[in-house]
């Protein structure tokens, strides 16, 4: 469990779960918001990684 993607997904899970619990009241809303947030973090991280990959420095 030391792959960059795996650790990023675990990190995104924790952060999304805490934010969703803080910002939404019912369990259903928390689940939906948390899933959306986690998806955004993971996809955003991968996209940003590829964008940085082409930079020469």
């Amino acid at each position: 469990m030391t792959s960059h993607l795996g650790l990023m997904v675990v990190f995104a899970f924790f952060v999304s779960a805490v934010f969703a619990t803080l910002m939404r009241e019912s369990a259903g809303e928390q689940l939906r918001f948390g899933a959306r947030l986690m998806g955004g973090f993971v996809v955003g991280g991968v996209v940003l990684g590829w964008l940085l990959y082409v930079l020469p420095f």
Partner: protein, 132 residues
């Protein structure tokens, strides 16, 4: 105006600062104290687990070095998790192994767990003040 003041005064918890202190020491304790059981249990499980992941990934619990402001800020963020930090320090954990491939990830987990707990403390404060 007097009615509004009375309503606000009635919803402010008398032990707001004790709740904040409890929320800092034990993640989720503030919400449990305020009767937000589901949220309290979620924080109680998630935040110490995230902190434990950081230790397992060989992250470092930074020392308070005023000469290195960024290190001092990271140390302040680490302390934000409360009791897990004190326990880890007491057990000489969190030395960090800078050559480990997961070192930076471990630091991120430790620092962010502390910062998230600070947010949780602020949320408990807002609830105790009757704002949420």
């Amino acid at each position: 105006m007097a009615t509004t003041t009375a309503r606000v005064a009635a919803t402010v918890h008398p032990h707001t600062y004790a709740i904040c202190a409890a929320a800092w020491v034990v993640p989720g304790a503030g919400h449990l104290w305020l009767g937000r059981r589901q949220k309290g249990i979620a924080f109680l499980l998630l935040l110490p687990l995230m902190f434990a992941c950081g230790l397992w990934l060989e992250g470092r619990l930074f020392p308070f070095e005023i000469t290195q402001p960024l290190v001092a800020l990271a140390a302040a963020a680490d302390v934000g998790i409360g009791l897990p930090y004190l326990l880890a320090k007491a057990m000489s954990m969190g030395a960090g192994r800078v050559v480990a491939i997961t070192y930076e990830y471990g630091n991120a987990f430790l620092i962010v767990a502390g910062l998230l707990n600070m947010l949780v403390v602020l949320d408990a404060f807002d609830i105790a003040q009757g704002r949420k």
